[in-house]
């Protein structure tokens, strides 16, 4: 097991290095240099040269690369052109806004989706399974914005139970401390509908995946043996069938969790939620390259890290992986 983890850590480092190198190269091969985008027109050639030098853009590529690595290691993502503030500071706020939204939605979607998918897989061929499938497929084929709008029109415009969007009362100043910002009823109140929208939309995948995984596990010899052993349905369903069916889910959960750090542009737009998704799109619109690069960096880091976690989790869940 230790050997397994050591090897995975080595892979992690290698993958991570490849990722930040590619990230570096992508932003170097994009057409134009920052001066064409961000420096005001009418700037003289000498001024332009000076700006490029100030940002180190006249150095050879390998010097830039070393600088880039050094800055990343010290946690410096550069300065946003648009905000004129460190990328890191801007991103952390957006990052946490997104994390609360997406973690809420994903937790509900995957906990409920896995349990429900296992259950309807177990009930294969019955009427209950058909209705369950219909529900899952409705959720699957409803676009996020549509779910969002439906929820808005019911719970906001008809019933008036929840606010229409944003993360706090309109006009309210964002509290400085992390704790004050997120741990209060006002925030939860604003969080409910966006989370629900995400939960409904993301639930379909775990339901369908878990169901098909469950059906193939239920056809195995060992499930038949467990039945022949006279074990209770509950034991067979959760201890054996679901336990084996959940294995392919681990990879999906890790991947989705990583990607969800990028936020959901649609949900964030419908509910005016200041998260990563909107930020990333706007950065690209405004050619705010450090900001976009920082956002990609954060997202990629989480994806890689979650995959690492998934590998380790897999080894705990499936002994066959451990002994490879």
């Amino acid at each position: 097991m230790r050997k397994f983890i050591v090897r995975r850590v080595a892979y992690l480092i290698l993958t991570y290095w490849a990722f930040i190198t590619i990230l570096f190269l992508i932003f170097r091969v994009t057409p134009g240099d920052p001066t064409t985008l961000y420096i005001p027109e009418g700037m003289s050639q000498a001024e332009r040269q000076a700006t490029l030098e100030r940002y180190g853009l006249t150095d050879p590529l390998y010097v830039q690369y070393v600088d880039y690595l050094r800055m990343l290691l010290s946690g410096d993502l550069g300065t946003s052109y648009r905000y004129n503030a460190p990328v890191w500071d801007v991103l952390t706020t957006k990052f946490w806004n997104t994390i609360f939204l997406m973690a809420g939605a994903m937790t509900i979607a995957y906990t409920f989706g896995i349990a429900f998918g296992a259950y309807i897989g177990w009930l294969r061929g019955t009427a209950k399974e058909k209705y369950g499938m219909v529900l899952a497929l409705i959720a699957r084929s409803s676009p996020e914005f549509w779910i969002g709008i439906v929820l808005l029109s019911i719970f906001v415009f008809q019933l008036g139970w929840f606010p229409w969007g944003g993360i706090r009362e309109i006009g309210a100043e964002a509290p400085a401390s992390f704790f004050d910002r997120y741990v209060n009823w006002g925030f939860v109140y604003h969080l409910v509908l966006p989370v629900l929208t995400g939960a409904i939309y993301y639930m379909a995948q775990p339901i369908l995946l878990m169901r098909s995984s469950m059906i193939s596990v239920l056809n195995t010899d060992y499930i038949e043996i467990k039945k022949a052993e006279g074990l209770s349905n509950y034991t067979i369903l959760y201890k054996h069938a679901a336990r084996n069916s959940i294995l392919p889910m681990v990879t999906v959960v890790a991947l989705v969790a990583g990607l969800s750090v990028g936020g959901s542009l649609v949900i964030e737009t419908v509910f005016s939620w200041p998260g990563m998704g909107r930020e990333m799109v706007e950065s690209v619109h405004h050619n705010d390259y450090p900001m976009a690069q920082g956002a990609f960096f954060l997202m990629g880091s989480v994806v890689i890290f979650m995959n690492f976690i998934a590998d380790i989790a897999y080894a705990f869940l499936d002994p066959r992986v451990r002994y490879e």
Partner: protein, 352 residues
């Protein structure tokens, strides 16, 4: 001890009702090994599984009884069956042991699980001790109960499966082709171990196989199954040396005999019946070289030929003729060429 009488098991399919087991009767005595042989799809596995009602949702026991020590298992509720019969009285060994264990738990954990599910007063430690003893009886190192299924070789896994099957000291083991996945040497050793334990623990076994050499060596009695019925039943020696049913004769032809020169195997032409709403007739008639008009119209009743030798064939009396003809290649190949004629006769007979 185990008495199966007139058992009927049916599958409800879109093509109609499949009579997979169609009035089957056979007994199993204590410590006996009964071989159930026949082609794929003749209902062997369905018969075995119906004893503990381990059936697909579209499959039901439509009639007959299965009595275990006088108690009719078909009358029990599923709950009673689970608690009092499955594994504690009747356990099973699957075809491929590798797939018979849940891959994410150790073999020991799975033995402990079934022991504790049935014996609430047995502690985990005692159950583990029992698993260890069983392993050692089967010639596996006791410490290996903490290994995962994938760490065993095929033969070892099959032994571990036998240990699991014996964990609750059952009266009957249903072994569904337990050795087909193994090579001949391992197969033989495994069967030796099973036989020893069977005697020691007094367990009867229903051995399902299409390997004639295994049944002839290992079984006390053999039941030949065709079309959901037992067409011939006798002690192993009689079935191998002096069968009466044309199907058994054909079956025997299709296995090589190393003591004889003739290596030309004769197979039975045609395919087993689908058993969808079967007509009242001998189910083997369409493939039987000796079928007469009567065979197409009347299902034969079992006839005893002394010493429990039971045959369901209208022409079983003409045994000498059947045997001598069945040995000839032409008998079976001629049938193949006249198959279209047979179908004609079949429709003619129906029209009459």
């Amino acid at each position: 001890m185990l008495e199966i009488s007139d058992l009927e098991v049916r599958y409800d399919t879109e093509h109609g009702e499949v009579h997979a087991v169609n009035g089957l009767s056979v007994d199993l005595a204590e410590n006996e090994t009964l071989g159930l042989v026949g082609e794929s799809g003749c209902g062997k596995t369905t018969t075995a599984k119906s004893l503990i009602r381990l059936l697909e949702s579209n499959c039901t026991i439509a009639g007959g009884s299965v009595e275990l020590d006088g108690r009719d298992l078909t009358d029990l509720s599923l709950k009673e069956l689970k608690r009092e019969v499955r594994w504690s009285e009747i356990s099973m060994i699957p075809q491929n042991a590798m797939n018979g264990f849940d891959p994410v738990y150790t073999v020991g954990e799975q033995i402990v699980e079934v022991v504790q599910a049935h014996e609430s007063d047995t502690s985990k430690g005692e159950a583990r001790e029992r698993a260890r003893e069983l392993f050692e009886k089967l010639g596996i190192d006791g410490d290996r109960i903490d290994d995962y299924p994938h760490q065993f070789s095929g033969g070892m896994a099959q032994r571990a499966m036998v240990a699991l099957a014996l964990a609750l000291d059952p009266k009957v083991i249903l072994a569904d082709e337990p050795t087909t996945a193994l090579d001949v040497v391992i197969q033989d050793r495994l069967l030796d171990v099973i036989q020893d334990l069977q005697d020691e623990m007094d367990v009867a076994m229903l051995l399902i196989t299409h390997d004639m050499s295994v049944v002839s060596e290992r079984c006390d009695n053999i039941a030949v199954m065709y079309g959901g019925r037992i067409v011939e039943y006798a002690d192993a020696e009689t079935i191998i040396k002096s069968p009466r049913h044309p199907y058994t004769l054909g079956l025997r032809n299709s296995f090589p005999d190393i003591t004889e020169d003739s290596q030309d195997l004769i197979s039975i032409p045609g395919a087993p019946p689908t058993l969808v709403d079967p007509d009242e007739m001998c189910q083997f008639a369409p493939r039987c070289p000796f079928a007469e008009e009567e065979c197409w119209e009347v299902a034969p009743e079992p006839v005893e030929y002394g010493d429990g030798h039971r045959v369901e064939c209208h022409r079983a009396d003409e045994v000498e003729y059947l045997r001598s003809e069945a040995e000839k290649h032409e008998t079976w190949t001629e049938l193949e060429s006249t198959e279209t004629d047979d179908e004609l006769t079949e429709t003619e007979v129906k029209n009459d």
